[in-house]
Structures are given as C-alpha cells and as structure tokens.
Symmetry: C2
Subunit: 165 residues, 2 copies
C-alpha cells in the first residue's frame, strides 16, 4: 500500500532519529536503510528541500534531522515524498457531486482518513523508543554501528547526493 | 494513496453493479468510468481472470459481474489489481526481527490493517445503494444512460479488450 519511496523515506528518517547530533553521510544512510544510493539521494533532496533534514557537503558532511524528532510525525514525512490527501471533491469530476462524495469515494476517503490518523499520531521519537528493544533497521540487541554513525574518511557524496542546504 | 489502477477497477465494478443483468461493452464501460480504454482493457482482463466479472466477445458482447454484488467487497477488487497485504515479517529482512515488527513497521502494518478494515466491510451493493441519491459515476438525479447500458450496434471491442472468458 505504501510506495517504496514512502517506506524508504521513513527508514531514512528513523535512522537519523537513532543517530542524533551526528551528520550521517548519504552512503552510510543508504547502507543502514538498505536503499539504493541513487534512489535515496533523490529522497534526501526532497526531505532537505522540505526542511525536515539539513545537510553539509564535503568530507565529513552528511545529514541530520532539521528539528526535534518529537516534532516530526510519520505523516509529515509521507506528505513530502508521497502525499496522503483527503478527497475534497469528486475525483471523476461530476458537476452535481462536487464536495458531496458518492459512497465509493466516501469509502476511499474514509480509508485515507484512517491512514492519516495512524501516521499523524506517531512521531519519529515514538518509532525509536517504543517496541521493547526492536528498533527500526537494527538487529535486536544491536546498537547503530559506530562506523555508520561516524563517517571518517568516507568520500564526499556525489553531486546528486548533495543537500540543497 | 490508492493507485489509479485500483480507483479505475472500483469504478468499473461500481458501474457493472449499477447495470445488473446487462452486458456492458468495454467501450461503454470506459466512457462511463472516464478511464482510458486501453488502460481499462487491462484491468478488465485482470478482473475477468480473477473471476470477478465474466464477458462475451463480439457484437453485443461485453462484461457483467460474475456473482452477486452482495458477495464482492471493495477489498476483493483491490486484491486483484493492487493487493493490500499486511506485513508478516520485517520488510528490511533483519534476521532478529522476523515476524516481530519494529515500531516503524508496526505502524505501517496498522495503517494497512485500517485500510483492509474499511474496504473489507463494504460490498459493491453498499456502494450503489447508500449515499442518499449520490451514486458513483452518475450525476445526481440521473440514472445510468440507457445507451451505455444497452449496446446495440456498437462495434466489437478490439482484440486487447476481449475478455479471457
């Protein structure tokens, strides 16, 4: 149901939440999230342009959350890369329906509303503190690997990876 | 959130529900649902192969529901053209997660479950009998157009439109 783009964006944001106050290089982020680097680069660019992450170019550069993980909900992430939009008028364009949805589109809108309700009530902090030890992207009992958190002599990301910030 | 394919399939099934005991040609169905004919032809083929609709080729041929609209839920339609699947194990493939989802994937699964809950509880009959006069694909106070219901001398659908039945 969720697009690959949405799933990948959420993984990236979860990883940045798990590695606070660090700049994570695009390459290490791709490795941690198991997302193809080129694909992830485009997603990171969108998240950066939307102000959810910030970055720094060059050696030792990378990305981090632009604000507290308490203030970013799953829905905020989705709405950047694959917006979840309620139906405000007839998608078929019937004039006499307008904002009065037929039962087909009422039910579709109800499902969209249910999805918004789930994703709108969960922060990135929730994703990384709940779960009784099962954290996103981490094997159980393992912490984020230091080498993924602290890029040392990694090469700078390619041009397409560079944040817009 | 819903793919175009899923939306179009639901429109087609709603129209066939509104025109019971009729064979509706692929061309008329495309017109009624406002879906590009080539695109709809592929969807109709899937719905036919899955046993939700049946068809007859040639002049005067077309499609109808394969069983009662009471027995077909929105989710049945979606599961043919764009399956909505619950998460049964870690999508990242982490060995120590397995069936124990992390909070990220728990929430994604919760949203999928909410969608299944909405679409699994609504039949095609519900879509066409609820709504206080606002029926899918019909202007308010208008019935399905007779010329769309009763194909007369319409040409047979092109080869790609022919049902597999």
């Amino acid at each position: 149901m969720l697009s690959n783009t949405a799933e990948y964006a959420l993984r990236a944001m979860a990883w940045l939440t798990l590695t606070p106050d660090q700049l994570v290089s695009a390459g290490n982020l791709a490795e941690a999230t198991r997302v193809p680097a080129d694909y992830l680069a485009k997603i990171l660019q969108q998240l950066s342009q939307a102000g959810l992450i910030t970055g720094r170019r060059g050696v030792g550069g990378g990305y981090k959350l632009a604000r507290s993980a308490d203030d970013i909900h799953m829905l905020d992430v989705l709405n950047v890369v694959d917006p979840v939009e309620r139906l405000k008028s007839c998608p078929v364009g019937l004039e006499t329906h307008g904002p009065n949805l037929c039962p087909l589109h009422q039910k579709i809108d109800e499902a969209i509303g249910a999805v918004c309700n789930v994703f709108g009530n969960v922060t990135l902090t929730d994703l990384c503190t709940q779960g009784e030890g099962v954290k996103p992207l981490c094997e159980v009992h393992a912490q984020p690997k230091p080498e993924l958190v602290q890029p040392t002599l990694a090469p700078p990301p390619p041009a397409t990876d560079t944040p817009s910030a």
